[in-house]
């Protein structure tokens, strides 16, 4: 059976649907220009679990769980669920960690970079430029033999581990929902102020997450792959999906009165252009070396890729360190140790890029 989502129009429609849904989530309560942000939302989940104590970014974002479960459902229906693991797992964890450090210096993943631009935030241009440069550097490694090695088929228990984790966390969210005005409900922490206190109704967030997870698994939507494939092969397939997301979110923002062009006072953003560029540059390099943007890693995890799941867990750990150690930016600018973290992150990614070579067998 032909996969209509994998056609040229398929990827364009998927990108457009994601753009409309993300912008609509902002109208329904999600933070500004943050309808969907894989980095921010994993960071909020880390916060809700108490892995970091940044009081303004703590919420158990259901969209993330929806991404994994929606992709899982699609992979089951279309017989693509394939438990696999073993392609340099620790390296992937570290790449996830570095990607999150970079993303939180910029304040957003590639998805949010597009949504920020679609909402009129000019600072996002520097982030997107950084993303392209970071991915471009990653392609140089690919051209010179960079390779994380092969994954191998894994058993069902390994393939379903992340699903159990995700469903468990979702159940915790149902058991201990936010209470108005309270900063926690038993074991889960919740923001009373700031972006963590802004969210669309749980059922809608989860439904949108499931829908995006489903169509993104079918279409292989990937914001990093879009730029990588263009730089490496001049292939525009995935890029069309990304552009469709940008245009659709822009139009939806216009219709909903959410387009506010400018650089100053943009929601959950700072104006330090170079560090917006460098932060997303680091994230872009890490995504390229790991073979997928953070959304794509979640969709891959849903279809049984244990290495991608570990990348996402690395992101959660990276978020905790970022906020505990003052690496993450705030609307005032980079954190006290954000610059050092970006530099170290680049060194780590370069070491991985140079160090991981063909290792057959």
């Amino acid at each position: 059976m032909k996969n209509i989502f994998a056609t040229r129009w398929g990827i364009i429609v998927v990108g457009a649907v994601i753009g409309v849904l993300a912008a609509t989530l902002q109208k329904l309560g999600n933070p500004g220009n943050m309808g969907v942000c894989v980095a921010c939302f994993i960071r909020d989940i880390s916060g809700s679990l108490g892995l970091h104590r940044a009081a303004v970014v703590q919420y158990l974002r259901p969209e993330i769980f929806g991404f994994v479960i929606g992709s899982f459902a699609a992979s089951l229906i279309f017989k693509e669920f394939r438990p696999r693991a073993g392609s340099a797992p620790v390296v992937r964890f570290i790449l996830g960690f570095c990607a999150m450090v970079g993303a939180l210096v910029f304040l957003g993943c590639p998805w949010r970079a597009l949504l920020r631009l679609a909402g009129g935030d000019g600072n996002a241009l520097f982030g997107i430029l950084g993303l392209i440069v970071g991915v471009g550097v990653g392609t140089l490694f690919f051209k010179t033999g960079y390779n994380l090695g092969r994954s191998r088929p894994a058993n069902l228990t390994a393939g379903l581990s992340v699903h159990v984790l995700v469903i468990g966390l979702l159940l915790l969210g149902f058991l201990f929902p936010p209470i108005a005005g309270a900063d926690k409900n038993d074991i889960l922490l919740y923001s009373v102020n700031g972006p963590g206190s802004m969210y669309a109704p749980l059922a809608i967030s989860l439904a949108v997450g499931l829908a995006i997870g489903f169509i993104a698994q079918r279409s292989r939507f990937c914001t990093m792959g879009a730029f990588r494939d263009f730089i490496l092969f001049r292939h525009t397939h995935l890029l069309l999906g990304v552009l469709a997301l940008l245009v659709a979110a822009f139009i939806t923002n216009q219709l909903l009165g959410q387009f506010h062009p400018g650089f100053q006072s943009q929601p959950v953003a700072h104006t330090m252009s170079f560090w917006n560029f460098a932060g997303m540059g680091l994230a872009g390099l890490a995504f390229a070396l790991a073979g997928g943007c953070p959304g794509r890693q979640l969709f891959l995890a849903g279809e049984g890729d244990g290495d991608a799941a570990l990348f996402a867990i690395g992101m959660a750990a990276g978020a905790a360190f970022s906020h505990n150690f003052g690496l993450a930016s705030s609307p005032q600018g980079v954190g006290p140790h954000g610059i050092a973290a970006v530099l170290i992150g680049f060194l780590v990614c370069m070491a991985i890029g140079f160090g991981m070579r063909k290792n057959e067998g």
């Binding site: 073993g86 392609s87 390779n147 092969r150 292989r220 792959g225 292939h235």
Partner: protein
């Protein structure tokens, strides 16, 4: 016998990279690429077509797909 590339277990963009490298080396002929995911199958087929190679045959195997391309 035609050249076979085993791209099983490799993540994006390795299967496409290997296919395009081999296409460049061969120029014309027949090439077989073995992959283990539907995504890799689609990507390799799309990349081959973009270079003017035809998809001669795609067979499903227990652990993936065997794609035969020719030019």
């Amino acid at each position: 016998m035609e050249k076979t590339i085993d791209a099983r277990g490799l993540s994006c963009p390795q299967p496409v990279l290997m296919t395009l490298e081999e296409i460049k080396t061969l120029g014309t002929g027949t090439l077989v690429i073995v992959v283990d995911t539907e995504t890799a199958k689609e990507n390799v087929s799309r990349a081959a077509a973009s270079q003017g190679w035809g998809i001669k045959q795609v067979t499903s195997e227990s652990d993936g797909y065997r794609i035969t391309i020719t030019k």
